[in-house]
Amino acid sequence: MSVTVHLPTVLRSHAGGAKDVTADGATVGEVLTALASEYPGLSGQVINGDGTLHKFVNVYVNDDDVRYMSALDTPVTDSDEVSILPAVAGGAVGSSRSLPT
């Protein structure tokens, strides 16, 4: 299962500057783990050493935040898009260059 993952600016340098990458996995956790093994610089940035999500990272499958689904066990399929977004203060700016439009 190959899933498209959208990276935020702060993580792109760890993936050779790529905005979108693909990784294999049947769950969000598997996809992110595969990503970290392909791009070792991402290791520890999204998933902590104890296997939980970094507190300042929000991960979405399509439109939905996985923390309110099954977290890293949330299933993904080929047509899904995973977006990693940093948690920042509310009063957001209307830009979404890290997202599919």
């Binding site: 300042f56 990272v57 203060a89």
Partner: protein, 315 residues
């Protein structure tokens, strides 16, 4: 008509309007709460009054004192109006790229404006205000992101109003922001019916303006953590600028001229309506459209507005 002794008495008791005509599922009713009807024009009047009156009763404010607050606009405008009536001086830390109407409204109410870098978004304003507050212990720093009087205003006001007007509510949808609306209303509604689902809508911060050098610069509002926000929410969705503008425009079909964050919240409500068989969704329109006219959100080409949305703070 009722005679009011002060404009402050007009805060709250906003109308709830049935806009099921816009629902993608006719069996999913959508009701919208028009917070733009508050006297300074947004939902933030509620927390402005609540935070200031709480500080007064805690004896943290003295006549003529200066308050400092980071805001992308609405909280500052509400606080500036309340401060003017109560005799305080307000300094706001405002990202440089907010719509010009917001800046002008702050000036109307006599607030002093300190600009934070637009490229750092609200994160930058929060950081600068915290630094300034630390340097000026004589200023009162009510700090909407960490003040329990923020969610309390919604627990005591917005939530009970919704329950009074619509006890058949099944889903509550609002923008995340400081999280005060979701926490206060969510807690009140769940206490009265644990089956009500509480759904957050988050317009993503732009990568060019999120102010992050690394992920550890991220920010979660302290009230969200302190009030158990993660346990209270049943879901959180991202809504993109284009969808937000499209739904802001669609609101005019039912005669509602609301701000762009209202369109974002409605986009979230519409997705919710599609995902359920039947139910009653209540969504919050945080403000009116007036402050966003200069963005051309209603009248310019959608592609142009979307592009412009990448440089201006709309929420």
């Amino acid at each position: 008509m009722t005679l009011y002794g002060s404009v402050l008495d007009l805060i709250g008791n906003t109308p709830l309007v049935d806009i099921t005509a816009l629902s993608p599922n006719p069996d999913a009713r959508i009701l919208i709460k028009l917070e733009g009807q508050n006297p300074s024009g947004s939902v933030k009047d509620r927390i402005a009054l609540s935070m200031i009156e709480q500080a007064e009763s805690d004896r943290r404010l003295s006549p003529g004192q200066t308050l400092i607050e980071p805001t992308s606009g609405n909280t500052g405008i509400g606080m500036a109006m309340v401060c003017k009536l109560k005799g305080y001086h307000l300094t706001v830390v405002l990202p440089s790229n907010v719509s010009p109407e917001r800046r002008q409204l702050l000036e109307v109410w006599g607030a002093e404006i300190i600009e934070s870098p637009g490229s750092e978004g609200s994160n930058g304003a929060v950081k600068m205000a915290r630094d300034l507050a630390a340097d000026h212990p004589e200023w009162a720093f009510l700090y909407q992101y960490a003040n329990p009087a923020n969610p309390k205003a919604h627990y005591q006001g917005t939530g009970p109003e919704i329950w009074r007007d619509c006890p058949e509510i099944t889903h509550f949808v609002a923008g995340l922001g400081t999280s005060g609306t979701l926490l206060g209303c969510g807690r009140y509604l769940k206490e009265h019916n644990p089956d009500v689902k509480i759904l957050a809508v988050e317009p993503p911060a732009g990568e060019m303006v999120d102010g992050l050098r690394n992920l550890d610069d991220g920010y979660i509002p302290p009230i969200f953590i302190d009030s158990g926000g993660a346990e209270l929410l049943d879901g959180k969705k991202i809504v993109r600028p284009r969808e937000s503008i499209e739904w802001t425009r669609r609101l005019t079909e039912v005669g509602i001229f609301a701000g762009i964050s209202s369109g974002a919240a409605l986009a979230g409500a519409a997705k919710c309506a599609e995902s359920i068989d039947r139910g009653t969704i209540v969504v919050v329109a945080a403000d009116g459209g007036w402050k966003y006219l200069s963005t051309g959100a209603w009248t310019d080409d959608l592609d142009v507005v979307e592009k412009r949305a990448k440089e201006t703070i709309y929420f």
